[in-house]
């Protein structure tokens, strides 16, 4: 790893820093560096539990600021065919919640980057909300994203996240009306996940037409970091998202490269190239952005 561990702050700080604070610091640092936060998404355990961390390392070396690591789920209602297939492959390979969180532990330890765990509601409830968040915190992750958890059902999740120092992410979609938007930002998520496209995850040919208006609607009500995701498929798309938001999540375009690769080494090489392109596209200066 060429980059110095990104967290070399004053040691008293790092001992007490919660996951929530870690994520917030990520945005503060990116802002002062004049770039948007780049968070690639990848399902845990691909192509295998053993090889999975190497893909995250390749992305970290290429300039990823942190990661969204997916726990594979059998019935992912928010995901298109590519991430669905990734989940199916991981489940067939025996990637349970615990194994996925072992991957998270390894990613956190080897890259030093903050990790957000992505899951659906039911695996959390099955373990018990408190138990799940406790286990996630023990893995070294900093935050949690629950794809089918609207703000309306989020209170017990937010409580558990608070108890374990984790950041909980909440969503805003282009369909979200102003009343709901107020409710989401008032719930104090660690950041707002701004859904760029009306639809499930998956690559799109054209950049989202919703980004600018959505960013303005959120920004006029809150200072929370805004991260765009869903449909952001190319460096060009990422650049547009970065120019209006504080961060960018790229999922399907990353996952597809892993599914298409013949080996973990090939996947790592492809991701390295792709993430470097995304990095360059999201190094948009704060001044230019505002």
């Amino acid at each position: 790893m060429t980059e110095p561990a990104p967290t070399e702050p004053d040691p008293t700080d790092s001992r007490t820093e919660t996951g929530h604070e870690r994520i917030r610091r990520l945005f503060a640092d990116a802002e002062s560096d004049g770039r948007a936060v780049l968070l690639p998404y990848l399902t845990a355990g691909l192509p295998s539990v053993e090889e999975s961390p190497s893909l995250f390392s390749a992305m970290a070396d290429a300039g990823a600021d942190g990661f969204e690591v997916g726990i594979p789920y059998a019935d992912p209602l928010m995901d298109g065919p590519v991430i669905m297939e990734a989940g199916e492959r991981a489940l067939e390979a025996g990637v349970t919640v615990d194994r996925a969180l072992d991957v998270v532990r390894s990613v956190v330890d080897t890259t030093g980057k903050p990790v957000l765990v992505m899951t659906y509601v039911n695996p959390v409830l099955r373990r018990g909300i408190g138990g799940f968040f406790s286990r996630v915190a023990a893995s070294g992750a900093s935050g949690v994203i629950v794809a089918d958890l609207p703000a309306d059902e989020a209170a017990p999740f937010a409580r558990a996240a608070g108890e374990h120092g984790l950041g909980l992410v909440l969503f805003v979609a282009p369909t979200t009306d102003d009343d709901r938007l107020e409710h989401v930002v008032a719930s104090d998520p660690v950041f707002v996940y701004a859904i760029a496209e009306i639809g499930v995850t998956g690559e799109r040919d054209d950049a989202s037409v919703n980004i600018e208006a959505l960013a303005e609607r959120i920004r006029s009500r809150s200072d929370l970091p805004i991260v765009f995701g869903v449909g952001i498929s190319t460096p060009g798309h990422a650049s547009i998202a970065a120019s209006h938001g504080d961060g960018v999540i790229v999922g399907t375009a990353v996952v597809r490269r892993v599914l298409e690769a013949d080996s973990a080494v090939e996947a790592a090489n492809d991701l390295s190239t792709f993430v470097a392109e995304l990095r360059a596209a999201t190094d948009v200066s704060r001044v230019a952005r505002r």
Partner: protein, 393 residues
């Protein structure tokens, strides 16, 4: 006690709720508002009632199953939903929700289907109202319910095969929801059972409770003794909810829901979400479901495509915990025997779903001796004839 409406958060006790991607949430609230307004609008009721009478053929008759009564020693009656237009109770829901889609100005409708009856009923309502219609159906179900695929196509509906998972009802619901996440601004999703995020379980129950309400009027009017036991099959649970709801918490009537026992509860290959499942979230709702230790949804199994579902409506989960309804199960084999028994003893080929309800009555005939029992004959079995014939080849 039973609830008129779920609470403000869409809950029946601890069950129900709205676990949906944010993109869908505004549409769910829009739907709740639209249905609340329509349901308190006399004009909406008048139009719906007129269609139920002249298009669907309601009220459906109550029929005394005389030869089966003699044979089983039970005073057995059938509520004949199989005689409703398109051959099942599903049309009660789709005509109501079709009217609602029109009222909301949504030009396109999507639906999922397992046995194909809900797909046919949705295709029918869309043809009636001039709405564009696409129906998601699992690959495996397309095979075993081929007749209903042709019927949907003849009605002008596009049937979209679903290849994910086991290619059955659960996967069809998931695919329909994914479509809806993308198309929500122009599309109404007519869900086929009392499942899904609020307000769907409430809307479908309100549209199906006509079954039980008719029965409450018909039996005294025809001089029939009041039912002591009402039996219905339960997959997602819409036919059962339709006939149970008006009687629930009545005290006088024993309500029995019969789930798919498949190859036996111990085999793990069944659809008994209430019988041996545990609480969790499936398709946007907290309910009893089949899941593993890690919260992954398990595949259900049933010879009946309509009962081949690893979840169940949240109000049934509530009824179970409140002891308002007793939930039992019968195996594939018992249901098949009952299928033939009804055909040969009463001259009615039942849907394999409804055959489950009869199978339970056969199993419990000794306990039911001399009592007045109503079976909700939720659908006719034409769709199953090919599949049953193949099993005996």
């Amino acid at each position: 006690m039973k609830l008129e409406r779920p609470d403000a958060r869409g809950r029946y006790g601890t069950f129900g709720g709205m676990y949906a991607p944010e993109t869908l949430m505004p549409a769910l609230f829009e739907l709740e508002t639209a249905f609340t307004e329509a349901w308190s609008d006399d004009d909406f009721h008048a139009e719906l009632d007129h269609l139920l009478r002249t298009f669907v053929g309601r009220p459906t008759p109550v029929f005394r199953a005389a030869r089966l009564s003699d044979r089983l020693g039970v005073d057995l009656w059938f509520k004949r939903e199989d005689l409703a237009h398109t051959g099942a109770h599903k049309i009660n829901n789709t005509v109501g929700q079709g009217l609602l889609a029109k009222r909301m100005g949504k030009p396109r409708v999507i639906a999922e289907t397992g046995a194909g009856q809900h797909g046919v009923a949705t295709a029918t309502a869309c043809a009636l109202f001039g709405l564009e219609c696409e129906v998601y159906m699992g690959e495996k179900d397309i095979e075993r319910q081929a007749l209903n695929v042709y019927r949907m196509q003849m009605l002008g509906t596009k049937v979209i095969p679903v290849t994910s998972g086991a290619g059955t009802l659960k996967d069809a619901v998931s695919e329909a929801m994914r479509d809806w996440v993308s198309s929500v601004e122009t599309t109404h999703y007519i869900i086929g059972s009392v499942v899904g995020p609020h307000p769907f379980p409430w809307i479908v129950r309100e549209l199906q409770k006509v079954i039980g309400e008719e029965l409450q009027q018909q039996m005294p009017a025809d001089g029939i003794p009041a039912p002591e036991v009402i039996v219905a099959s339960v997959g997602g649970g819409s036919n059962a909810m339709g006939i149970f709801y008006p009687y629930a918490a009545d005290g006088g009537v024993e309500l029995v829901g019969v789930e798919a026992g498949g190859l036996g509860l111990a085999s793990g290959k069944h659809g008994a979400s209430l019988g041996v499942g545990s609480p969790g979230v499936i398709h946007g709702s907290m309910t009893y479901m089949l899941q593993d230790d890690f919260g992954q949804v398990l595949e259900a199994h049933s010879v009946s495509a309509g009962l081949d579902y690893p979840g169940v409506g949240p109000e049934h989960a509530y009824f179970k915990d409140e002891d308002l309804v007793r939930y039992e199960s019968v195996s594939d084999d018992e249901a098949m025997e009952a299928f033939h028994l009804m055909a040969q003893t009463e001259g009615i080929i039942p849907a394999l779903e409804s055959a489950h309800a009869l199978a339970w009555i056969v199993n419990e005939a000794d306990q039911l001796r001399g009592r007045t029992v109503v079976l909700n004959l939720s659908g006719r079995g034409d769709k199953d004839v090919q599949q049953v014939a193949a099993l005996y080849d």
